[in-house]
Symmetry: C2
Subunit: 343 residues, 2 copies
């Protein structure tokens, strides 16, 4: 095998015993004498023996690897998720094979292939904004691959799901803006394809309705690419700012959209909150550093990653097929700052 690695056979030969004895000694089997165990352990240590994972996987039919597909690493929310996933996976002896879709359906397809071709024991996935058809995932799921969805989930597959409380987060964010004195509140959101968009939209609408503020269709702007394309955000902002009933606040729906909006407003010399107030779903570390600091809805990415991984490993290690699937909803937190108060 590669780079002169020591195998069980080498140890067996050196000690003049059989390979199976070595194998058993290494897993501290009761059928092996203490003396032999000692010898084997020493020899293994001496040569820095590492079992070949591929041979072991082949034999045992699992790979001890988890696949994770996220839109982009370049988003504080998802990098927190990864941290959560790592913290659980490593402690249970699983490796992580991660890929990004960059919000592209094509990439989601090819990455799914790559991952499953590499034989993962289970898959964590947050759908890309472009994804409408999930038959690639259905096929895998039908074949028995354990899948857990997080954040951007699909209703077409019956399995565990972890989501943030998008409705409540959006509802409270909007309510906060209303309480702060804004009434012309626009909603700049992501692609209509992903689950979170609809949920946040509902929260926004309900908050307006409960406060007797009519929902205006032209205050709701979608970014089909999820803000990946700066132009789509720019166009939405232009339409909002040029409207005769120009909004006095914007509620942005995702980290990416929020960040891009901030950058564009800055470039356009639109002052926050003097010209327009901003409150967004985001997880940006820099929210506090901005001047004025950004009011935000914080999603617990780390906890979501942890929970999703726990559930996935549970699915993988379950003896029999799981009957009951859960959808876990995690609360989101609002940070409302003075900077969002009416000047």
């Amino acid at each position: 095998m590669k780079f002169g690695a020591i195998t069980i056979k080498d140890i067996a030969r050196e000690l003049g015993i059989s390979a199976s004895a070595v194998s058993k000694a290494l897993k501290d089997s009761y059928e092996i004498s203490e003396k032999t165990k000692k010898l084997v352990l020493e020899c293994a240590k001496k040569h820095n023996y590492q079992p070949n994972p591929m041979a072991r996987s082949l034999k045992q039919g699992n790979s001890k690897a988890l696949g994770i597909i996220i839109p982009t690493i370049d988003n504080n929310f998802f990098s927190q998720v990864i941290n959560g996933v790592e913290s659980v996976a490593y402690s249970k002896g699983y490796n992580i094979i991660m890929t990004q879709t960059h919000e592209s359906y094509e990439l989601e397809l090819s990455n799914t292939d790559l991952l499953t071709i590499r034989a993962i024991d289970g898959l964590l996935i947050s759908l890309s904004t472009e994804t409408k058809d999930i038959s690639h995932l259905k096929r895998l799921h039908d074949q028995g691959l354990p899948i857990v969805f997080f954040d951007r989930v699909s209703n077409e597959i019956n399995t565990h799901k972890i989501i943030a409380d998008n409705f409540r987060g959006a509802y409270e964010a909007t309510t906060n803006l209303i309480k702060a004195g804004y009434r012309n509140i626009a909603h700049l959101t992501s692609s209509i394809n992903v689950s979170i968009t609809a949920e946040r939209l509902k929260g926004y609408e309900q908050a307006l309705e409960e406060n007797g503020i009519p929902v205006k269709e032209h205050y709701i702007k979608y970014c089909p690419q999820g803000g990946k394309d700066v132009d789509e955000v720019q166009q939405a902002l232009n339409e909002l700012l040029d409207a005769p009933d120009k909004p006095d606040a914007i509620f942005t729906a995702t980290d990416r959209v929020t960040t891009t909006t901030l950058a564009l407003l800055h470039r356009m010399h639109v002052k926050i909150p003097t010209d327009i107030a901003l409150l967004g779903f985001t997880n940006t570390q820099l929210a506090d550093v901005l001047n004025p600091p950004l009011s935000q809805v914080f999603q617990p990415g780390f906890e979501m990653g942890k929970k999703a991984t726990e559930m996935l490993i549970q699915l993988i290690e379950a003896r029999r097929p799981v009957e009951e699937f859960e959808t876990v909803v995690m609360p989101a937190q609002i940070f409302m700052r003075d900077s969002t108060k009416r000047p």
Copy 2:
């Protein structure tokens, strides 16, 4: 094997031919008749046959997987690197198994184990700030594992390395500050353990010297944890701001340190650039969004990731041991903004 996957044997049985015939047909061998090939291909497609990667790896002695160890994903520079790595690796049929060290030597050790235990064909690594002893990597390298260092490299292992032009970047950044009228320029940097720290320090010192400005030891502050620990940055800032010869500018050495410094200065109500100017090595997407926008030294993470991966794959696929190792230096770019001009 797992979730009812079809194997070569199944196809052989279904078609009433031997497994080896199927194997050959699938790789379009010249010794198989067109008719049989057609049959096999059809059958394979019908059952959605995927070769078992573990069996193949076991047989061929490689895993078609690259390991990558970075300090943290939560840093725009490293996430750009990942993107660069992905773009090359996938196109050459390699998967990526990534882990973070969170700047901890312990984690670097255990992650290195995890990765190599999983049998990777090669390793990309950027050292953690805590790492002084690299014998864990030396061992692997001696055993023949191809390794490419990027950004934070070690001189103790002779292999390919990719670095940003840290000296030049720091030199130019400092020169820019001097030209903008600052003379009391502090340098807030990372751990003394990582290679980039020394290089940037040299650039800073040389720029001062060439302009006849004496280097003051108490203007140079290290963050042993690389800014992971907010307190170490806070303490450094306190000492700088409380000095009788309080600096009028700070040159920060890394993304993390820069971000933390920004957050702290904001919290301390220290105005930029009125109270103190700031110019940092960083890659933060939000540099433009800040008010005032941050002057920065931009490192080409994507290109580094690409280049490092190309070199690693070249090492892996080289027939014979490589004799000549390269150290590639990539230019860094300075973005100096009006906001750094003297008010």
